[in-house]
C-alpha cells in the first residue's frame, strides 16, 4: 500500500525502501497510483472476513480507513468463495 509515483521512473516504487534524492518529485495521490492502491486493497480484503459489525478493531482499523480513502468499490470475487473458518473455541462452555 505504500506505492508512490516518482517522476522519471516508469513503474510505481515502494516508499518504504526507496532512498530520497535531491530534487525528487513524488506523487502520492493521483489517478494511476490510486488505481494501483485500489487493486492491492482488493487483494488485501480478498480473504478477509469483513465482520466489521462485531470486530473489535472497527473504528480504529487501517483496512477500513484505506477502503474509505481509495476503494469504495465492490469486490470481484463471489462472497461464497471466501474461506470463512469456524473458530475453534466454544464460547458457551466458559464456567464461572
Amino acid at each position: 500500500m505504500c506505492m508512490v509515483e516518482i517522476e522519471g521512473k516508469k513503474r510505481p516504487q515502494i516508499a518504504c525502501d526507496t532512498a530520497i534524492k535531491k530534487d525528487m518529485v513524488v506523487n502520492t495521490k493521483n489517478e494511476s497510483i490510486n488505481a494501483v492502491k485500489r487493486d492491492i486493497l482488493e487483494l488485501e480484503l480478498l480473504s478477509h472476513p469483513v465482520y466489521c459489525a462485531i470486530c473489535d478493531q472497527a473504528g480504529e482499523c487501517s483496512l477500513q480507513d484505506y477502503y474509505m480513502d481509495f476503494a469504495l468499490a465492490k469486490s470481484r470475487r463471489a462472497k461464497e468463495e471466501k474461506s470463512i473458518k469456524i473458530k475453534n473455541s466454544i464460547l458457551e462452555e466458559i464456567s464461572f
Binding site: 513503474r11 510505481p12 525502501d17 526507496t18 494501483v36 492491492i40 487483494l43 488485501e44 480478498l46 468463495e81
Partner: protein, 419 residues
C-alpha cells in the same frame, strides 16, 4: 550440435567415484589455478562471458567481482535447489560427475577469497545428497578438501545443507534466509548492484552448472569457451526436453541452435506422430510459445527475449495438438499457488484467486469477463512484490491468454450454454 563440456564423463561407468573421475581429467585444473593469483582466475571467467545457468543468465564474472572486491570474510553457496518444473539438468551433474562440481567450487572459492562453502540441495534429492556426501568424503580423505587443498596453502571446506521442499528457496535471497535458519522469505533487493549477505558477510550464490563449467574455462582458457555458442551467449547449456517427445532427456548444446531443428533431430519428433502445438521453452516460469513461434525460435538468451519469451533454464516442455491449454495453465497455477511463500499480498492472494478462477472454468462455471479479470489480476501481481515469483506468474498467465485465447473463450461459452 552436441558439445560435451560439462557432460563429458556422464556415460562412463562409475564416473561419480574419485578414482574414475581423476582418470578422466577431474581436479587437473587445481594445480594450474593455485599457481596464479586469485584475481586472474576471476578475470579468466569474466573474459569467457560465462552466464549464470540458473535461469537468470546474468554475467558470472560481474557477480563474482561484487564479492571478491570486499575485504571481509566471504562465503560461497551453490544453489542445487532445482525445483523449476521441466528442469532436471543439475541432478545429472550431482548424480554422474559430483567431483566436477567440487573442483569448480574449489576454484571459485579461491577466486573470491572464500574458505567455507555450502551446497544447498533440494530436500527431495535425498539419494543425490547421499552420493554428493560420499564424493565429498572421498575428496577429504584424498587431501583435495580441507586445510590444505592438494598441498597448497589454502583451506576449502564444504557443507551440505538439505532443503525441505520449497520452490521459493531456489530464489537466492530466500535460500540464504533458509540457510541462516529462518523461513525462506526473499529479501528486498537494494537499488544498486550488491552481493548477497549470509550472516552479514558477502556471499556468492551460483547455480550448480555455472560452477561446474569453471574447470573447463581454467583448463582450456576463456577463448576456448567463447568458441562455442553466440557472441552474447557463449558456451553451452544442458538443455532438457520432455513432454510429448520421442527422445526426452538432457542434451548439452552450444547456444544459438534452432529450437525446431533440435525438436526434430535430437528430440526425435513429436510422440505418436502428432503435430506440435506449444512449447514452454525454459522451465515453467517462461512465457509459452505456439508452434508458429517455435519455427523461428533460437536457443540463446537474446533471441528468446526478442520473440517475447525467455530462455530460463532451457528445460523445454513439448505439448502436442491434443493438449488442452486451460488444463495446462491450471496445472501450472496449482503449482504456483502452492509454492507462494505468502510474504507479499499481491502474490499470496493473487495466486489463490487465479487458481480458483481457472478451477471454476474447467468445471463449467466460467463467468463472462473471466479473461479480463485474469489479465487484471496479472497486472496487479507485476512489479509490486519483493521477489520475481509473482511477475513470473503474471507473464505465464499473459502468454497463455495472448496465444491461446480461443480455448479460454470456448470454456466461457460452454459455461454460458450450461446455465
Amino acid at each position: 550440435m552436441i558439445y560435451k563440456i560439462v557432460s563429458k564423463n556422464f556415460d562412463i561407468k562409475d564416473s561419480f567415484t574419485l578414482e574414475v573421475a581423476k582418470k578422466n581429467g577431474v581436479y587437473q585444473s587445481i594445480d594450474k589455478a593455485f599457481k596464479r593469483p586469485p584475481y586472474q582466475i576471476e578475470s579468466e571467467v569474466e573474459k569467457s562471458g560465462l552466464r549464470g545457468k540458473g535461469g537468470g543468465g546474468a554475467l558470472a564474472g560481474a557477480k563474482w567481482c561484487l564479492v571478491s572486491s570486499s575485504n571481509e570474510t566471504s562465503y560461497l553457496v551453490i544453489n542445487a535447489d532445482e525445483s523449476e518444473p521441466g528442469t532436471f539438468k543439475d541432478r545429472q551433474i550431482l548424480e554422474f560427475d559430483p567431483h566436477l562440481l567440487l573442483e569448480g567450487m574449489i576454484l571459485t572459492a579461491y577466486a573470491i577469497g572464500a574458505h567455507d562453502t555450502y551446497i544447498y540441495i533440494r530436500g527431495e534429492y535425498s539419494a543425490l545428497a547421499k552420493r554428493l556426501n560420499e564424493a565429498i568424503n572421498e575428496a577429504y580423505k584424498d587431501g583435495i578438501l580441507g586445510e590444505k587443498v592438494k598441498g597448497f596453502n589454502y583451506r576449502v571446506d564444504i557443507t551440505i545443507h538439505r532443503g525441505a521442499g520449497a520452490y521459493i528457496c531456489g530464489e537466492k535471497s530466500a535460500l540464504i534466509e533458509s540457510l541462516e535458519g529462518n523461513r525462506g522469505h526473499p529479501r528486498l533487493k537494494p537499488q544498486h548492484p550488491s552481493p548477497e549477505y549470509y550472516f552479514n558477510k558477502p556471499t556468492l550464490v551460483n547455480n550448480v552448472e555455472t560452477i561446474a563449467t569453471v574447470p573447463f574455462i581454467i583448463n582450456e582458457g576463456a577463448e576456448a569457451y567463447r568458441s562455442f555458442g553466440t557472441s552474447k551467449s557463449p558456451g553451452t547449456l544442458l538443455f532438457g526436453i520432455s513432454g510429448h517427445i520421442n527422445n526426452p532427456g538432457i542434451y548439452e548444446l552450444a547456444f544459438g541452435e534452432s529450437m525446431q531443428e533440435f525438436i526434430n533431430t535430437l528430440g526425435g519428433g513429436i510422440k505418436n506422430g502428432k503435430k506440435l502445438k506449444a512449447v514452454i521453452p525454459g522451465g515453467a516460469s517462461t512465457p509459452i510459445l505456439s508452434a508458429k513461434e517455435v519455427k523461428v525460435a533460437k536457443l540463446d538468451y537474446e533471441s528468446m527475449k526478442e520473440i517475447g519469451s525467455a530462455l530460463g533454464t532451457g528445460g523445454m516442455i513439448i505439448m502436442d495438438e491434443d493438449t488442452c491449454m486451460v488444463s495446462a495453465l491450471k496445472n501450472l497455477l496449482s503449482f504456483y499457488h502452492h509454492e507462494s511463500c505468502g510474504q507479499c499480498t499481491p502474490c499470496r492472494e493473487g495466486t489463490s484467486w487465479v487458481d480458483g478462477i481457472i478451477k471454476n472454468m474447467l468445471i463449467g462455471k466460467a463467468q463472462k469477463d473471466d479473461i479480463e479479470l485474469l489479465s487484471d489480476i496479472s497486472q496487479t501481481m507485476n512489479g509490486k512484490t519483493i521477489c520475481v515469483f509473482a511477475p513470473a506468474v503474471s507473464m505465464v498467465i499473459d502468454a497463455f491468454i495472448l496465444r491461446f485465447r480461443d480455448e479460454f473463450e470456448a470454456y466461457i461459452h460452454k459455461g454460458d450454454l450450461d446455465d
